[in-house]
Amino acid sequence: MCLREAFLRTAESVYRFILVRVAGDRETADELLQECCCQAARSRVGPKDPPAFETWFRGIARNLIRRHWRRRRIDRRLLSASHAEGLAGVAAKSATEPLPSEQLESRESSAALLLAMQRLGRKDRELLLAFYFDGRSTAELSAEIQVTAKAIEARLRRARDRLRALLAGGNGVETA
């Protein structure tokens, strides 16, 4: 199987993987996906079967996402004051009350939550993203991490606690 076909089979999944990790910014996700392909083509050593390709490709994407955030220093420097204020409001509300459906449909609500997640520790962030944004079940995650489903639920709860603290303006950064 050639590199391009392996990419075709995994592109949507990888794209979502990137999208949620850049706070739903499609323009950035587009750029990063393309850059991933450039790096993959340059390396010429990537696996061709889809599962292995996706793991390898996500590894490239993860590095690029990390570089992206390092460059942008997350939200405070890149957002205009008014935009940041608006997002902070949405973020705070999302932590303390159910948002109305029309607000949940807005890009701001996604961006607010995803930006806050970037400030979480890696384990918490990846767990929340995998569960809520990649749509993976606790059973799947427990099989992957090799802990019980109850342990996954407990970890999710703790991650949400820390996220809520962040959204409310506290220090929710994981220390582990």
Partner: protein
């Protein structure tokens, strides 16, 4: 505002936003095309990289392009042009390479990025001889070489260095002791270096590669899949036929480069069963790619624009002897340089293999064979 005592609200909000993100759709078709184009990118898109990739078979590639041009005539103009048939041309090239002809190569004003190269070489049964002037611009100091060389013949293997500048200051100082600036130095290579054999072997391998069924099939495929590359034919007064193939055509160039890189590059390689499992959206992409609508069309074609826009390939074919006489590429690189390759009869002139014929009075001689025996002697003493 409802106080939060459990995390149900945050959980519900996260689920809702997560669903929205999952349903937001994947990459656009345009993005997919760009990505597929990026995955298809190969260094062979520039002439420099193409040559680097195929340096071992540079001769074969050049001759092969000529063969493609000749084959094009055989396929495209079988009735209106000269009666040149593809198989005939291939056979004649194979025969010529087996006959080990005298090959004359001239490179004029070849400038590719930091590399500047001019020179001429003759490769025959008895050896290899030539002149080379090369410069590579480094950050501060350039690497410059101006030399004549001869491998084979009674004089052995030698390089007559007229100018040598190294990009490293310390190395240049050291070199100055061996080769004072402004003075010619004849460097005799160790007798076992066998450079001539190596060069001849490389060229021979290139010619063998040209004859290989794989390369021939690539050219045939190029011709059959897209016959019209804009080749023109001119019957010359001496009975030979001049074939001209403009290389500035981006599409043609892309395809030639891709073909030389490997036939699979423009084929997604999907089997029938595999194709069925690909989604409809992907099918559409596959169709668009199959039609040649790759991302390459959405991006500037830098290689063709900068290096090959005015490049032309000329080949002279002699129907009487059924042989290719000359292959030439002109107008490529930053200085619109040229490479000319002639296939001649006979052997290399022995004078070209004799450095004394071209040395100025007072030329210093460094015999690396002596250095080698000195080093070996010292090593032996140390072992003792």
């Amino acid at each position: 505002m409802k106080p939060i005592t459990v995390d149900d609200e945050l959980d519900a909000n996260l689920r809702a936003v997560g669903r929205r993100m999952r349903n937001a759709g994947g990459p656009s078709e345009e993005l997919m095309l760009r990505c597929l184009g990026a995955l298809q990118e190969r260094p062979a898109k520039t002439w420099r990289n193409l040559f680097m990739e195929y340096r071992r078979s540079f001769i074969a590639s050049t001759l092969g392009l000529a063969a493609a041009a000749v084959l094009a005539i055989g396929v495209v103009l079988p009735h209106t042009g000269p009666k040149v048939h593809a198989e005939l041309v291939v056979q004649s090239l194979a025969r010529q390479s087996q006959q080990n002809p005298l090959i004359d190569i001239r490179i004029e004003s070849l400038v590719l990025e930091e590399l500047q190269l001019s020179g001429s070489f003759r490769v025959g049964r008895s050896g290899v001889a030539g002149n080379i002037s090369l410069s590579i611009e480094e950050d501060e100091l350039p690497l410059e070489i101006d030399a004549a060389l001869g491998f084979g013949g009674t004089a052995g293997e030698w390089v007559l260095v007229r100018k040598l500048s190294l990009p490293d200051t310390q190395a240049q100082l050291f070199l100055g002791l061996l080769m004072p600036p402004g003075q010619e130095t004849l460097v005799i290579l160790p007798s076992e270096s066998e450079v001539a054999d190596e060069v001849r072997r490389e060229i021979h391998e290139g010619l063998v590669e040209l004859r290989s069924g794989e390369l021939i099939s690539v050219f045939k495929d190029i011709i059959q899949s897209q016959g019209d590359y804009g080749v023109t034919v001119k019957n010359q007064a001496d009975g030979t036929v001049l074939l001209t193939l403009p290389l500035g055509d981006d599409d043609a160039l892309e395809k030639i480069a891709a073909k030389l890189e490997g036939l699979g590059d423009f084929d997604l390689g999907l089997g029938k069963d595999e194709k069925k499992s690909v989604t409809k959206r992907q099918d559409r992409l596959v169709e668009r790619i199959a039609k040649g609508e790759t991302a390459a069309k959405h991006e500037p074609k830098k290689a063709a624009e900068s290096e090959l826009a005015d490049a032309v390939l000329n080949a002279v074919y002699d129907p009487a002897t059924e042989s290719v006489k000359m292959v030439q590429i002109t107008g490529f690189g930053d200085a619109k340089g040229s490479i000319t390759l002639r296939l001649l009869d006979g052997d290399i002139d022995p004078h070209l293999l004799d450095p004394k014929r071209m040395m100025k009075p007072g030329t210093r001689t460094i015999d690396l064979s002596a250095f080698e025996s000195l080093i070996e002697g010292l090593a032996g003493k140390l072992k003792e």
